[in-house]
Amino acid sequence: TGGMSESVEQARNRFQSELEFIQCLANPNYLNFLAQRGFLRERSFINYLKYLLYWKEPEYAKFLKYPHCLHMLELLQYEHFRKELVNAQCTKFIDEQQLLHWQHYSRKRTRLQQALAEQQPPQQQQAPPHANAAAK
């Protein structure tokens, strides 16, 4: 099957599935699952992870809705990281940190708005509708 060329349809499907798969890597629980099944020790899988690095290129990256996956993909290139993922406590820690990081900007924004609200006199105080609108 080495020299087999794929049809355009097959290539599109492959694009789709690879897009989905790489974003799944953003999920630490899924990483734990993969590690415990031994996938992260298989040479072919490791090669596949290296191949997936093409998603870092701008023309591909723009399709990623969950960009955290790229960071995970980079970490997955390291054997040490792959070994640690077997440990459920490790992935739990990663999950926690990921969520905290995810909340960082909203917390920062809330704090900013609070500070602004305290500074300004009550009449000129504006509700922050634009923040919610952007978030939705």
Partner: protein, 259 residues
């Protein structure tokens, strides 16, 4: 012009002076002798020509001496000129060395400048290659922010099922999930809080999430690979039964869980 074979002027002068000395000594001796001795006439006759010869030689030698002195004088002048010229040559030499030093410095400075200019050109090229239209960047920024993929929604509290990564539910509703032919009453999403959503929606009708983006990416193809991995990505076919149960049990509930 004196050649190497001829004697030097100094030698010649000295030999002439020696000759003069010898001749004059002989003459004086002869005169002294003739005075002290009362010689008969035949004796005087032989001595007079001898004196004359010596005198002639003497005069000759003297003339030579004077000539040689002139030559020596001229040679002295020439020597002086030579020294002056040598000094000039030295001066020119030092000038040349100075210019050489400056040239070297200039070369060094220019080389540095050229090198830095080249580096600048390289970085300009690099920047140009990586340039993306601001519109695209803004579009993408909007896309990942609006869906709360990179920034938590402002009203997020623990228990909210939303995550910065695809949840079990989303994963199973995608192309990979459907490839696996899952049982319809699969286990619920990764959080008890998601059970409601999972219970309501049979897999067949699960919504098509934008992170799978088939509409946006129409026409996009992945880079070619020669199937050398040999392994289908997990979450596929045979793995999936384990996939479903294991994910919910192994994914020990995240800290934000609430029962």
């Amino acid at each position: 012009m004196a050649t190497v074979l001829e004697k030097s002027t100094k030698e010649r002068l000295l030999s002439v002076v020696d000759d003069l000395e010898v001749l004059s000594r002989e003459l004086i001796e002869m005169l002294a002798l003739s005075r002290s001795q009362k010689l008969p006439q035949p004796g005087e006759d032989t001595q007079v020509p001898r004196c004359a010869v010596i005198l002639e030689l003497l005069v000759q030698r003297d003339r030579e001496f004077l000539q040689l002195m002139e030559v020596a004088q001229q040679q002295g002048k020439v020597h002086q000129e030579m020294q002056l010229l040598e000094k000039e040559v030295e001066k020119r030499d030092s000038d040349i060395q100075q210019l050489q030093k400056q040239l070297k410095e200039a070369e060094h400075i220019l080389a540095t400048a050229v090198y830095q200019a080249k580096e600048k050109l390289k970085s300009i090229d690099k920047a140009r290659k990586g340039s993306i239209s601001s519109e695209e960047i803004i579009k993408y920024a909007h896309r990942i922010s609006a869906s709360n993929a990179v920034c938590a929604p402002l009203n997020w509290v623990p228990g909210d099922p939303r995550r910065p990564y695809p949840t079990d539910l989303e994963m199973r509703s995608g192309m990979l999930g459907h490839m696996a032919n899952l049982p319809t009453n699969g286990v619920n999403g990764h959080l008890p809080g998601d059970a409601l959503a999972a219970g309501r929606l049979p897999d067949v009708l699960t919504p098509h999430y934008p992170w799978q983006s088939s509409d946006v990416s129409v026409g996009m193809l992945p880079p070619h690979h020669g199937n050398d991995f040999g392994l289908e990505p997990p979450g596929h076919n045979k793995e999936n039964e384990d996939d479903v149960e294991a994910m919910s049990t192994d994914s020990s509930s995240s800290s934000s869980d609430s029962d």
